[in-house]
Amino acid sequence: MKQLMKRIQDLLKELHPLPQNALILRMPVIEANEGELRKVLATINQDPADNAIFPFSVFSNIHFARFLLLEGPVLDGRKQSETYATTLIFIANIDGSKTDFIDELVKHVSQGLDQVLSACHGYPLKSKRTRASRKSFISEHIIPSQTDYVNTIGRSASMIRQESELRDALKLFLNGIKPDSFRSATALRDEVIKFVSSNPEISWALASRAQPSFLWRSIENIRFAGITALGMLILLWAWPILAVWVLALRMRESRDSEDTHRPPLERLNQLRSTEDIAAHNPFAAVGYVKSGWLRHTTTQTLLVAAQGVLRHVFNKGNLAGIPVLGLDGVDTIHFAHWIMLDDGQRLLFTSNYDGSLESYMVDFIDKVAWGLNLIFSNGEGYPLTRWIVHDGAKKEQNFKDYLGNHQIENQVWFTAYPRLTAVNIANNEAIHDGLYGHMTEAQARAWLKRL
């Protein structure tokens, strides 16, 4: 039954694919090979884009990619379905489907795959390494994520790069003319458009951007309507259960314990030593879900609900901003994933965010603490919450310490556009969009401010 459901889900996903996807793999590492694997990953990380082993820049459809070594879980009396030692996690944010991307991987970096993945259990032996055998190894190790956040659904990596080139070209153009000699904003805009059309390298920008098909958008809307209706029904019919549930959580959270120890300084400095090498940073943290049926079910349910909201509501660059409720969003996150591991015992969170960790934490505390609390308050040691959404991340020092205790290092991290923030990318897109169609003087003024 479970298998059938999964088949149906996969089929639906194939019929109505999302433009961006994440390939997430988890592969148990052979203990004896871990040392060597760490060395190989360190070599790759010296130049993730163009290293000889696994040059990520050959894939024009990758946004971000990472390898990280995950330890545990620790036995400690927990229910155990499988015994893991260290596992290797691979996450790539890509345009297009996972299967196409796996094809590309085995086609272009087969030797790199061999060097890295042969450190893992079950990787085909040398004599048996073919495209097909590598592919099936990769496919077998795909793990699902429960919730994904995409800054802007449908914005491809190549479009991001192209629009960045467009902006660079316009910048040089404007630096070379005397904008003051233009009487109006529309006149200057016309001159910019003239320049674009006369320049074959960027004249593509005069055509409007490829939009998802009407059918795709319709299905998306129907899906959203369906989910909303389902949510409303649950609220209407099951509100007494929800109320009891919330009360039960409230009682539990007052008895929970929170981590109060500070992370060791050496650990923090080690984590920091790999950060701030681009306009954005990779974040990864892992922790145990509080024990018991209530917490596990809450986590799973909230992640499912979050998935619906992130996909259908917060899909245009502003995470969790709800002006009507006075909630401020975050516009600095490119991609994020919530991944349940080890039969729901652990949660791995990864993201790619702009700026420093300090500013990321500040955003969490200042702007989206409630959203973080909803999900992460189910994690062991999380700063205590009140009524699930209050306190928690708002307790600055406890929260920063909690993150410091749970953050893990990425052994390899690749970004396809290291100098662009999400705000820059959105601005470049708006610059592109302003090249066609009629504009009033006021609109042209506003558009020119983006250049």
Binding site: R167, K178, P179, L265, R272, D354, G355, L451
Partner: protein, 488 residues
């Protein structure tokens, strides 16, 4: 929140509440502890000599700060050493700190005059202030004469210079936009948007209405009860209470280089516009420099007077950005003062109290002083521009930048990294702070400055660096009680 009455100003070092501006002579003594046994009694005596915030000295003043290494040198217990903040414990020159603070390449600590890996360890900082040069020399002598016989070594004496009209060396009035702290305002009418005291003193509620991480020690480790009880947990005594962290950056300023660059930029601009026969190079250079700073040389903000300097603006700190200059048409989005104190201009909800509260969690109290002879005693940029080649060799001048904050990571480092050095600040692309920002990041040049205007922005490219880091360290500025405890 604590009211003024309950604050024990005689427990707080004077520098927290005032910069001792009327004491025009000042110097900073950097000291190494060689023999802690001998040093302790000497330091204990010094606790009584230190100037606390209850007094307004008119002769001389003395304040005392200590590095983490200094505390270790004094044989303070490891558990206590570990209870200080991460930034203070790590120091300023870890690989990551160098990176985020911009101390790489020419600015690397290897080239520093002090505080770097190649120079002697700094343990103590004595901040000396006096009403005139003679009094200062007397104070310095009285301190340094007994140092060597008491297990201390003077590593460096940093002199300071009071410039005309409170200016810094480039010729702009400095020290205007200081954070407003209600508790320190004893006479004047209250101002809006106070920064909570806990942002600048440990042991008080901070901008989140919580206590900043600070050194707490078990009550039994303080049997003489020299320290106050911790406000949150009486099992602990608060070593941080009424103390704060002091950030010291020794910054060289290339004054002729700065004005030469601006003069060149002004000239290119003039050539580009052939119709412009009026020779206003000088004026244009000063205008561009003011765009970079966000203030005119007199200190009047561009938001207050966008087109020309107006030295008579009554309160040069009384302005916000969002309502009057949302798009940076008056004060560029990347100007120095707009990034180091964005007021109400950033998210969340620019123009709102929320935005102001956000900025207020990233403020610093500046207490530094200039050093080195001025390029021209008038401190007037117009006179600077008359002859930029009058100095055959670069003269050592700049700023002994000193700031106080309770959380170095969220305050000083955040301002320096996330606001000043960040080329993507506020939607920009390759624009670091034009005055203090690092010009290269992760191997690429980030050296633009964008001036928003109609119909389209103006952009300065290939801006060189005008500032070089020559030294620096993180210090702890303890309370009177904490000093007594640490030197007991």
């Amino acid at each position: 929140m604590a009211s003024t009455k309950t604050i024990e100003f005689d427990d707080i070092q004077g520098l927290v509440t005032r910069g001792f501006g009327s004491l025009t002579a000042a110097s900073y003594l950097l000291i190494n502890i060689i023999d802690p046994q001998k040093a302790r009694p000497w330091l204990r005596d010094l606790v009584a000599q230190v100037t606390y915030a209850d007094l307004r000295p008119d002769e001389q003043a003395l304040n005392l700060a200590v590095t983490h290494h200094g505390l270790a040198q004094l044989d303070i217990e490891q558990a206590i050493l570990d209870s200080f903040s991460d930034e203070f414990r790590s120091g300023m020159i870890t690989p990551h700190k160098r990176h985020i603070l911009g101390d790489e390449g020419e600015n690397a600590p290897e080239h520093w005059l002090w505080g770097g890996p190649a120079t002697p360890q700094i343990d103590l900082l004595l901040l000396c202030y006096a009403k005139d040069a003679n009094t200062l020399v007397e104070l310095e002598n009285s301190l340094s004469a007994s140092m060597s016989s008491n297990g201390l070594k003077l590593i460096e004496k940093l002199d300071t210079e009071m410039l005309v009209d409170n200016k810094e060396h480039f010729g702009f009035r400095d020290s205007i936009g200081q954070p407003y702290i209600d508790e320190f305002n004893r006479q004047k009418p209250k101002q809006p948007d106070p920064v909570p005291l806990g942002e600048f003193l440990l042991g008080y509620p901070n901008g989140y209405d919580r206590y900043t991480q600070r050194p707490l020690i078990k009550a039994e480790q303080d049997p003489l009860k020299l320290l106050n009880e911790c406000a949150e947990n009486s099992a602990y005594h608060d070593l941080g209470y009424n103390g704060t962290y002091l950030v010291f950056r020794h910054l060289f300023q290339d004054v002729p280089g700065f004005w030469r660059t601006l003069k060149d930029l002004a000239e290119t601009r003039q050539r580009a516009d052939e119709n412009d026969l009026f020779d206003h190079k000088q004026e244009e250079a000063i205008r561009l420099a003011s765009k970079m700073v966000g203030r005119w040389p007199s200190g009047t903000a561009l938001v207050q007077s966008p087109n020309k300097d107006d030295p008579n603006a009554p309160d040069k700190d009384a302005f916000t950005y969002h309502a009057t200059d949302q798009d940076g048409m008056k004060c560029p989005l990347g100007a120095h003062i707009r990034r180091t104190n964005p007021r109400d201009s950033l998210k969340p909800e620019p123009g709102s109290d929320k935005s102001m509260a956000f900025t207020n969690r990233h403020r610093i109290l500046r207490r530094g002083r200039a050093y080195g002879k001025p390029f021209d005693p008038s401190m007037n940029p117009e006179h600077f521009l008359e002859d930029l080649n009058k100095e055959p060799a670069p003269i050592s001048r700049g700023l002994h930048f000193i700031c106080l904050n309770a959380n170095i990571g969220r305050q000083f480092e955040f301002v320096q990294h996330t606001w000043a050095n960040n080329p993507n600040f506020n939607g920009l692309y390759q624009d670091p702070d034009p005055i203090i920002g690092s010009r290269s990041l992760n191997g690429s040049q980030e050296d633009q400055f964008t001036i928003q205007k109609f119909p389209c922005r103006d952009q300065l490219n290939n801006l060189p660096s005008f500032i070089k880091t020559r030294g620096g360290a993180y210090f702890f500025l303890p309370s009177r009680r904490a000093l007594s405890y640490l030197f007991a």
